[in-house]
Amino acid sequence: MPQISQLMEVYLGQFFWLLIVIGIIYFGIARNMVPKISKTVDDRQKRITDDLAAAQAGQDKAEQIEADYRTSINEARAAAIEFVNEAKAKAASKNEAAIKRAETAIGKKADEADAELKAAQSSAMKEIEAVAAEAAQAIVKTVSGAKVTATEAKKAVKAAF
């Protein structure tokens, strides 16, 4: 086995070159390049975590804005409904008042017209009675020749009506 038979002649050389190579790997690669690679990985991990956190924050903000928008729109809608109801009530009461006023005015006018009509009717009746009495007086005079006083004729006409 050459590893044993050669041992005494080569071991110093083997140690010498191995120490040089191992030293270069240790100081040149393991202590110099590896931390940079680890840092790249860590940086990427951090970047991913940060980005995820930022995205989460953005989403939260968007949700908050949506919720705010919803409450404000609900408030506005409620206010609008209240305003409309108020306006409706106001308009209704105004209308009612106007109608009442109009009704009273119409009623008054109708009463006046009624009264006038009644007055006209009664005056017309009186005139008719007077004319009828005169006519009755004249008819009696020409038919029977009897004289009928105006008061008698009037009484008779009234009784006939």
């Binding site: 086995m1 590893q3 050389g13 191992i22 790997i25 240790y26 040149g28 590896v34 940079k36 990985v41």
Partner: protein, 259 residues
């Protein structure tokens, strides 16, 4: 290698100088094929990591792969040691990636290109031994630095009856001291076994073809077997790298957090 159509399954583990270097402590330090493949591992690892350094926010495939491995090691340490294990990440990363790339590179079929002889760095006890020794030293240094003599309480499990303490203490110390050897041997043996097996069956193929006649059946069976063993070895490559890194984190956890 190829005398009388025979393959020496051990030849692949031989360390051969490519060009002479210098002497250190009276020993020749030459640039060997082992050192060459260590640098190939280093180069590949650098290319692999550099491909994932674009640092884009939306990663490409390569970047995902590199980030996946880094995340895998971070998780391993977090699960085994906890949040204060972060300072050991570079060492665990070095261990895992160096072993993984060495193992896989040793399994690549570079041998079909003439003149290139693949060499599995982790099949050398000197290499796995040094890696295990560094891990064990970290455990010892951290343990005594953080806890001082209290670190010895690691060797006395909770609820040990008083008369049993000396015996248990000895057993625990022994098992503790065996750790670096088991760590090094496990990887070394796992790597060497598969490679020898593949080479032995490869020599069967050549011998069977040389023999001629109906023995081509044996050659065919051997090739099929090699294919299966290669697939298994690829799995072992990843598992052994993981086991080495995992056990190191567990041992460091003992030192870091005591119990």
């Amino acid at each position: 290698m190829a005398t009388e159509g025979k393959i020496d399954p051990m030849h692949q583990f031989e360390v051969q100088p490519i060009f002479d270097g210098f002497t250190l402590f009276g020993q020749q330090i030459s640039f060997t094929n082992s050192a060459l493949w260590m640098f190939v591992v280093l180069g590949l690892l650098y290319v692999f990591m550099a491909g994932g350094m674009k640092r884009e926010l939306v990663p490409g495939r390569w970047q995902v792969m590199v980030e996946g491995i880094v995340g895998f090691i971070d998780n391993l340490i977090l699960n085994s040691i906890g949040p204060n294990g972060k300072k050991y990440t570079p060492w665990i990363f070095t261990l895992f990636m160096f072993i993984l790339f060495s193992n896989l590179l040793g399994m690549m079929p570079f041998g079909i290109i003439p003149g290139i002889h693949p060499f599995t760095v982790t099949s050398q006890f000197t290499v796995t031994g040094l890696l295990a020794a560094i891990s064990f030293s970290i455990v010892l240094i951290v343990g005594f630095w953080k806890h001082g003599f209290k670190f010895f309480s690691l060797f006395i499990p909770h609820g040990t009856p008083l008369p049993m303490i000396p015996l248990i203490f000895m057993v625990e110390v022994l098992s503790f001291l065996v750790r670096p050897f088991s760590l090094a041997l496990r990887l070394f043996v796992a790597m060497i076994a598969g490679h020898i097996l593949i080479k032995v069956f490869a020599s069967f193929v050549i011998q069977a073809i040389d023999a001629g006649g109906a023995s081509w059946v044996i050659a065919l069976l051997s090739i099929i077997f090699i294919a299966f063993v290669s697939a298994l070895e690829l799995l072992v490559c990843a598992i052994q790298a993981y086991v080495f890194a995992l056990l190191t984190t567990l041992y460091i956890n003992d030192a870091e957090n005591l119990h």
